[in-house]
Amino acid sequence: MVDSIQKETLIGKAITKPDAPDKAVGRTRYINDMVLPRMLHAKIKRTDRPHAKILRIDTSKAEALAGVQAIVTADDTPMLGIGVNKDNPPLKKDKVCSIRDEIAAVAAESEEIALKAVALIEVEYEDLPGLFDPVEALKEGALQIHDDKPGNVGLSYETKHGDIVAAEAESDFVLDEHYKVHYVTHVCMGPSCVIADFDTDGKLTMHTQTQYPYNYKMDLAPALEVHPGDVRVMQPPVGGAFGSKLDVYPFEPIAVYLAKKTRRPVKLTFSREEEFIASPTRQPAQFHIRAGVKKDGTLTFRDIDAVLNNGGYTSWGATTPYVMMRTFTGHYRVPNVEFKSVAAYTNNPYAGSFRGYGNVQATYVTATVMDKLAEAVGMDPIAFRLHNAQEAGEVTPQGSKLGECALGECIEVAAEKTNFLARYNENAAEQDTPGRYKNGIGIATSFHNAGGAKIHKSDGCGTVVMLDDYARATVISGASEIGQGIDAVLTQVVAEELGIPVKDVTIVNNDSAIGPWDVGVHASRTTFIAGNSAKRAARKARDRILEVASKQANVEADDLDLRGGHIVQANNGVPVVKLDKMLRGLHFAGEDAELIITTDYYEPPSEHEGDNHVGDMSAAYAHGAYIAEVIVDTYTGNVNLHKLTAVQDVGRVVNKLGIEGQMEGGIAFGIGYGLSEEMIIEEGIVKNPSFRDYKMVTPPEMPEIELHFIENVDAEGPFGAKGISELPTIIPAPAIANAVYNAIGIRFNNPPITPEKVVRALMEKAGTMVAAE
């Protein structure tokens, strides 16, 4: 036996993902790779009309095709709606409201046959006038898209704090601006896919990409008239999610209808084009903001009217104001705020949840408004922000308790690391001098929930920890692995508590029949919530082990510790007994036999929002300050983002590799939002449904990334950690916009800042537009 084992922490170390080796060698079986015995392949017949009455659906030619096993239309279904407003029947009967609408579906012996059959389905329509502009949709006399939705109102939100009229009277300057933010989409590399399979007793197994397996049952079952308890959710590895799999979408119940009809497993996979056309998007929005400031730089009020393009049906996108309003009330100290939003039904595609959830849109506004207000009162961008940054212990008007607020520290570090002010002033002075290339530097900050978000009455997660005879731990967690790396974090947390190597921990979290309940992977909550639950379950196992060992060795439990697979004396690390030997002894102890199996259900100490949307909805909040450095080519309009420095408040780093990966990946989303990504939708039709025409960040465009973590340990987070993986998606775009302003003196209230927009704006500024047109 070893002489002495010193305490070494795993927290903050770079831990490789347990799923990475199989992914590196091509061994991982993603849902898209799965084949079940006798499995059929399904395809959906979608409409190509944004708004039309369905007069006739003729499936007879498709039915006659050899290899077709079943066809379903609305007549075969209960016609119950899914989604947030339950307004979306998986198969449409009387009319279609967007071009993604599902008319019928085919299950066949091969995907090729299913595709041929879908092409043989005939649909006769009577076109209806289309409604595409949400502002038009809200006008009196606008045509009504859904019979039971007068005024085309999908969802509306309102929150009021303080007295904006009085605050406006006290203001020395009031900014009044309009913003319009666009459609982008998740573009998961693994196309949407589901396999539905009934057993002989009529119980349903769903192999899905879902990122919320437990509430998924609740949302899916009513559309099927199946009891949610009779649905088992299996989660094979997925090719990305980013929020897109946080709701039930029509293709999932459709696969079930076909499986029910054929009594065979049915797999339904999207093509890439379908992925672009028929997946959720990020919520597009229009904002009218009025924001006041005093001469000394103190923010006085914000008054925001938001109109959201709901699209034909309602998924989570229409609920993003829930997060937007937290930003408008809490991004910097501003005591008087009114926020109103309406999501208006139109004949466009509809939005779901998407990493950053409303805060990507809202922070584009607040972070660029901060730049404009600083200039209006003649303050530099850093001093102005520091003047309005909250400090530790402050509470926002909506009741977010900011705790150890690191906003000011993030700004100071970001400014110092980049020599911000000197370069900002230098660039501003160069704006109107001759020269093709203009340098710009810009800062943006944001804040976001970092300890879950209590949007449901529970924000909990359960964990089971079991130790076997070899001191290997199995961790059954409610938290889903969607590529983001929660398995590595849970491994690390449990190994830390139990003093065993990370390789001795196995995570099981892909089967709702054994997993304990969890809300889902969203709201940057998983490291915080599932991490805490795993830590607490492991702590219970540790306590029990030390209690037993204390009796056996006749030493106080407090004087013992678990290190390196041993029970050791805490003061000097001298081993008392090997952990595996002790566990075997306990297991085979006759009448006193015991297995170490512990459970935990962690409910964070946050509040479900009350009236007026007030409540401390997250157990922690995090801030970040990011600085973008650009070179604008004034001839081509190209914005070359060559460096992004991100200073991120993280509480404490748990897995260094994981958090860096979340930062860099999130930043790539943010850059795409700011510079290049846009789903171009004209009269309800998606014009660029391909990788070629939808411009994601590719390797040559990724800038140099410099990361700095601010580690002010959070009191509630696991080992002090906060959840931060949405902030890197939120902050880059406004930082880029502010940098572009610093380079060329032009503001863009309508991302993405494409070369075309830049050239047009430069020509307008120079008064050469008429000549060019």
């Binding site: 993902k17 992914k23 091509g26 590399m189 590529g483 860096e660 990966g661 860099e664 790539a668 990788f691």
Partner: protein, 158 residues
């Protein structure tokens, strides 16, 4: 039944004979007939690189190639890089540097890296970025992929 064509090819060092429909893509052939599901279908249009395999020493988008074009050729898929001794150094570097999140693009990224390092054993940062410009990753922001390639190149080219 549509007509099929018999082809013979070498896949990851093994001779294989398959009978394929003339319209079958190389990607679907390796995935469905050889059960080599490492190469991924992500776009089917040659735009994302997730289906990258190496044919006679040249990386290709296998979704754009017909299976019949592989007749008589040497094919390496992601499954062919690993040896009994362990992972290929590129695969190991991707694991060690955190270059894999969801992993759906990973087989294509690694195969394209194999091609890149065969052509340029010690590439500059710019050469890495250009070498991977046909491969899309939505999770990582590429930075850790670049790190992994720099690392493996510095270890294997010196």
């Amino acid at each position: 039944m549509s007509q099929t064509v018999d082809i013979t090819l070498n896949v990851n060092g093994e001779a294989r004979q398959v009978s394929v429909a003339p319209t079958l893509s190389a990607l679907n052939m390796v995935r469905e007939m050889l059960d080599l599901t490492g190469a991924k279908m992500a776009c089917g249009e040659g735009e994302c690189g997730a289906c990258t395999i190496i044919v006679d020493g040249q990386s290709v988008n296998s979704c754009l190639m017909f299976a019949v074009e592989l007749d008589g050729r040497n094919v390496t898929t992601i499954e062919g890089l690993q040896s009994p001794e362990g992972l290929d150094p590129i695969q190991q570097a991707f694991v060690d540097h955190g270059a894999i999140q969801c992993g759906y693009c990973t087989p294509g990224m690694i195969m394209q890296t194999k091609q890149l390092l065969a052509e340029i054993p010690n590439p500059t940062d710019d050469q890495i970025r250009r070498g991977l410009e046909g491969n899309v990753c939505r999770c990582t922001g590429y930075t850790k992929i670049f790190d992994a390639i720099h690392d493996v190149a510095s270890r294997t080219s010196s």
